[in-house]
């Protein structure tokens, strides 16, 4: 067998960045400060004003990595750009020249008008707070809680799915039955019941989303695991006496990753919808800090007139753009995975 060995290809910077370990590190540098900033708030003390600074270059770098990975799919590129626009806004919000989003200045100022010596690009709300500043700041909480909730739901769902799919038997029966019980609640009804029980807060949203999404994720992973476990390489691992945990983590998990990533993008969209809707219903994030769902909730009560409809439309379009971003990313990823 004369196989010509290709010379080692030169490794460009972008290629090295695409190494999973490097990308994950960059993601952590971008994500962790934002999470601490939103979840920790004032308890960060003196750190609070500076903590987001390292995240800014990390987000930009991450965007570059995504762009170069997805360059084959226009759809994925549009989606990534939408998502990263809001991600970047989330980490730069404290450093942008914005008016304090919670400071009432002059109520009911329409967009592109000046009042009290301030020019309001997007106008002000019924309390007189700057709409632009509230809209931009508003993405922080929904992003952080949405991504965290989806992430936790995935860890739980994947673990149960692998167990149900690989170990099968009674474990599968029990896990699947419990999953079916939870799935028999319509999602929003389940959210309402759980948040009603736990009380409204960001952390409780994480719990509620985990409860509501993990069974669906479990089903997907279970199906994938059932398929992968019939492969000969799993058989080979079994016959050399590997433990069930090792097989699940090393043999199965890397091979169910692809479809899971696509589904995760879709589910990020669902979670964003859920958080916004719950906040609108009064069961999610609480005032006064800005959030799109809250902005809709407050304006829906006070501004049901055409000339004030900007107060509803702006947050509605903002949240839609973020969800569209996630969905397009999922679509592009799926399309790309089908091509290979």
């Amino acid at each position: 067998m004369a196989v010509v060995t290709a010379p080692p290809p030169s490794v460009p910077l972008m290629h090295r960045l695409k190494n999973p370990k490097v990308s994950i590190t960059i993601f952590v540098i971008a994500w962790l400060p934002l999470m601490l900033y939103v979840m920790g708030g004032s308890s960060l003390g003196v750190l609070e004003p500076f903590i987001l600074i390292p995240a800014i270059p990390a987000v930009i770098l991450l965007y570059a990595i995504c762009i170069s990975t997805f360059r084959e799919s226009t759809i994925a590129l549009i989606g990534t750009t939408l998502v990263f626009f809001w991600f970047l806004i989330a980490v730069t919000a404290p450093y942008l020249p914005l008016i304090d989003p919670n400071k009432p200045i002059a109520p009911f100022v329409p967009p592109f008008t000046a009042k009290n010596d301030v020019f309001f690009i997007l106008g002000t709300d019924f309390k007189g707070r700057d709409m632009l500043s509230r809209t931009l700041w508003g993405c922080q909480r929904v992003l952080v809680w949405g991504v965290s909730a989806t992430f936790v739901a995935y860890i739980v769902g994947t673990a149960f799915g692998l167990i149900a799919g690989y170990i099968s038997g009674w474990w599968d029966e029990i896990i699947s039955f419990l999953g079916n019980v939870i799935l028999s609640f319509p999602v929003m009804v389940l959210f309402i019941v759980i948040l009603n029980y736990l009380g409204p807060s960001g952390f409780n949203i994480v719990i509620a989303v985990t409860f509501a999404s993990a069974p669906a994720i479990m089903r997907i992973v279970r199906g994938l695991a059932l398929d992968v476990k019939t492969r000969d390489y799993v058989f080979a691992a079994q016959t050399r006496g590997e433990s069930a945990l090792w097989i699940m983590v090393v043999e199965l998990l890397p091979n169910v990753r692809g479809p899971i990533i696509v589904d995760a993008c879709l589910r990020l969209g669902y979670t964003t919808v859920a958080i916004t809707t719950l906040t609108f219903l009064g069961l999610g994030l609480q005032p006064p800090d800005p959030d799109w769902g809250l902005m809709i909730k407050e304006s829906a009560k006070t501004a049901m007139l055409f000339k004030f409809s900007y107060m509803l439309l702006i947050p509605a379009l903002s949240v839609s753009s973020l969800i569209l971003g996630f969905n397009l990313m999922a679509d592009g990823l799926r399309e790309m995975s089908m091509r290979d």
């Binding site: 067998m1 004369a2 000969d232 058989f235 080979a236 079994q238 016959t239 006496g241 890397p254 091979n255």
Partner: protein, 710 residues
């Protein structure tokens, strides 16, 4: 490519003088390409064929050679990114490329019909077979539904399906694979087509079922006078069914001629390599080893300049074989025999092909593996959970008795449902036996699942898997996967030594060392299978089970992997259990053979004993069913009727009684057969009297002198 088209057009016109008859089908300089993101990928280049009425032509080639593309192009069904980019396809003198969609529709299914590789997938799962068959006369001859159904019924009878009324009202999944394929053939014949395209019609079927279908196809050709194009990767099948053959390699026809010319006086190095790499009755692992074709098939967009076969060819000459398009050249002495080789007149075709290394036969040592009364039953509860129904026993393995010695190759042969996979699972510890024992050395493994086995026992017994695409985990590097085995078995613990051992193993399976860093998707099927072999031998096992290790590989690669496996076995004096359905391969490499049918051993003995009488009636049928690509071999015809029964509902007495031509009513179907021992170790489980078994005539006979002189 266009140059190729013009240059060979001239030669071909000269080659085939016009006869009075119009050919049914003529392909002239046909070029077909697929258009993908990567650009134009030529699938078939400069393909010529002339099919006369009543003639059967075979197209043979390995995967990706373009043979199926030709069939679909004839049907003008190329999908959205395939296109005929040059040449003509003349059906009864008219170019199909110029026909309108409606004209094509009228020809499809009425004048040209097709039979497909996977009968199950080719039939609509949501329509009854009657409805699907009736459509053909309804839409082509505008007959009433009743008339159409009665024609369908008649046609089902002529493809020899029992109980046609039941089949007409069945859905496809309710009948077996062999029956489905007969239905597809009936559908194709319903409008009495001029041309029948058969695309690997028996590849998905068991060998005894395949033999029945092949027989049917031959009879159809005789009865209806239909012209046929038979596409297959199996030279033996082409020999049995066709008059002429086209050998394709990498998108091109490389040799065309009558069966006799191509099989006995081949004039292209690829054809020659192909024949040298398939095990025919003359081959033997010690004295006449197989010779594989080096290298691998080029991908369609990485074809070399000049001759596509050049890089793998022994007769390659620089600056001659790798420049320009190679035209088809007529060989004077044959019946329109042509070859796409520039050196066709220079090569000494009678020279023996570079013989493989002969080796001394190995002497088997002590018994390593002893299987004694091993039985595996599965209990299947119908309607689990809430409605506990009647229990159902699947007898996957029934009282298996055999043993294997050190350095010996024991083949387990059987068709689907014969229980060979279950046996492998019990041996590997993924299932436990219901009864009996399976002992390696002094350790009884029958009731010891893998998690109770010590590392030594586990590493002593390893497996090579069938499917090259499944055998390696696509997420990890090749080196990592081999290293894991070494560490797991504690063969080496020091990281440096583990690495060295990985390299050593890669050397042993003749793969470059830098493959350690590659991921499986960067490897070809044969290379993956080599890694699978390296992994199995990483812990120095004493017994290796190989489950059809080469059946999914292309013919030219099969030989190389088989030889590799034999070499390593010989070197390590490993006991090899070779599970296979292919008697040709088994005859070539096995020392002893165990023939299984529906979970039971029907016959066992040395290879010579199995291949010569006395036979078990099943062995006899199996031997007769295997197509052999050698014109010197004469086979006695033994055809089986019916299908393989389901293992969950086996016949009461002898499992083979439902299909056995010698069945003794009242005995075979009620009482399990006794085991008759002929010579030491040659045992047949059959009710037939000893004398009758002993008096059987051989199935396969090799004629000393070729039947014809080329």
């Amino acid at each position: 490519m266009p140059e190729a088209a013009t240059s060979s057009a001239a030669t071909l016109e000269a080659v085939q003088p016009a006869t009075g008859e119009t050919p049914v089908l003529e392909c002239r300089n046909l070029c077909i390409s697929y258009f993908t993101r990567a650009g134009e990928i030529p699938a078939v280049v400069d393909f010529n064929m002339k099919l006369m009425p009543g003639e059967a032509q075979g197209i043979v080639g390995e995967s990706g050679c373009g043979k199926s593309t030709v069939a679909l192009a004839i049907m003008q069904y190329m999908g959205k990114n395939g296109r005929v980019v040059g040449g003509e396809i003349l059906f009864e003198g008219r170019d199909m490329r110029t026909m309108s969609e409606e004209e094509l529709r009228q020809i499809r299914g009425s004048k040209i019909a097709m039979v497909y590789q996977e009968p199950m997938a080719s039939l609509n799962p949501a329509m009854t077979i009657g409805d699907q068959l009736a459509e053909v006369p309804i839409f082509h001859e505008s007959v009433s539904k009743d008339e159409a159904l009665s024609r369908a019924r008649k046609m089902l009878e002529s493809v020899r399906l029992p109980d046609p009324d039941r089949i007409l009202s069945s859905y496809p999944h309710q009948i077996s694979g062999g029956q489905q394929q007969r239905v597809v053939i009936a559908m194709a014949l319903l409008s009495n087509p001029k041309l029948l395209l058969l695309d690997e019609p028996t590849t998905a079927l068991d060998v005894t079922v395949e033999a029945g279908i092949v027989e049917l196809i031959k009879d159809i050709a005789a009865e209806f006078g239909t012209s046929m194009i038979y596409i297959s990767h199996n030279l033996g099948l082409i020999l049995e069914t066709c008059d002429r053959i086209t050998v394709m390699y990498s998108g091109e026809a490389v040799e065309v001629g009558s069966i006799k010319d191509v099989f006995d006086a081949m004039r292209h190095p690829y054809t020659r390599g192909l024949f040298a790499s398939i095990p025919v009755p003359g081959a033997d692992k010690n004295s006449h080893p197989l010779v594989s074709i080096p290298g691998q098939l080029p991908l369609p967009h990485q074809r070399p300049p000049g001759c596509n076969f050049g890089p793998r060819c022994d007769f390659f000459v620089k600056d001659r074989c790798d420049v320009g398009a190679i035209p088809m050249t007529e060989i004077g002495n044959g019946d329109h025999h042509a070859s796409r080789c520039v050196r066709v007149d220079e090569i000494d075709w009678d020279s023996t092909i570079g013989a493989g290394d002969e080796s001394e036969p190995t002497v088997p040592g002590d018994v390593v593996l002893k299987v004694d009364g091993m039985t595996k039953h599965y209990e299947i509860e119908k309607g689990a959970l809430f409605f506990s129904g009647e229990k159902h026993t699947v007898k996957a393995n029934e009282k298996l008795n055999f043993d294997a010695r050190e350095a010996e190759t024991v083949a387990i042969v059987g068709e689907s449902g014969c229980g060979k996979s279950t046996f492998a699972k019990v041996l590997m510890g993924l299932e436990t036996a219901t009864e009996g024992s399976v002992a390696i050395g002094n350790v009884d493994l029958a009731e010891m699942p893998v998690d109770q086995r010590g590392p030594e026992t586990i590493s002593n017994l390893q497996m090579v898997f069938q499917n090259p695409f499944d055998t390696l985990n696509p997420s990890h590097t090749v080196g990592g996967q081999i290293a894991r085995v070494i560490r797991k078995f504690g063969a080496e613990t020091d990281e440096k030594k583990v690495k060295a051992r990985v390299m050593e193993l890669l050397d042993i399976v003749k793969l470059p060392r830098d493959f350690a860093k590659r991921r499986p998707r960067q490897l070809s099927g044969g290379q993956k299978q080599r890694v699978g072999i390296a992994r199995a031998f990483a812990g120095n096992p004493s017994v290796v089970i190989a489950d059809e290790p080469v059946s999914a590989l292309d013919v030219s690669v099969q030989a190389a992997v088989t030889e590799l496996l034999m070499d390593i076995q010989r070197e390590n004096r490993t006991t090899l259990l070779f599970i296979s359905h292919d008697l040709s391969v088994v005859r070539y490499l096995a020392d002893r053979i165990v023939v299984m049918y529906l979970g039971q051993i029907m016959e066992q003995g040395t290879t010579d004993e199995i291949f010569s009488p006395p036979y078990h009636p099943y062995t006899e049928a199996l031997l007769s069913a295997v197509p052999i690509a050698d014109t010197h071999v004469k086979k006695r015809k033994v055809l089986l009727t019916g299908e393989i029964p389901s293992p969950s509902n086996p016949p009461k007495g002898c499992p083979f009684s439902t299909r056995c031509p010698y069945m003794i009513a009242g005995t075979c179907d009620t009482i399990p057969p006794p085991i008759v021992e002929f010579s030491h170790g040659h045992r047949i489980a059959c009710h037939l009297p000893r004398d009758e078994l002993a008096a059987m005539e051989p199935v396969i006979q090799i004629e000393k002198e070729p039947a014809h002189v080329a």
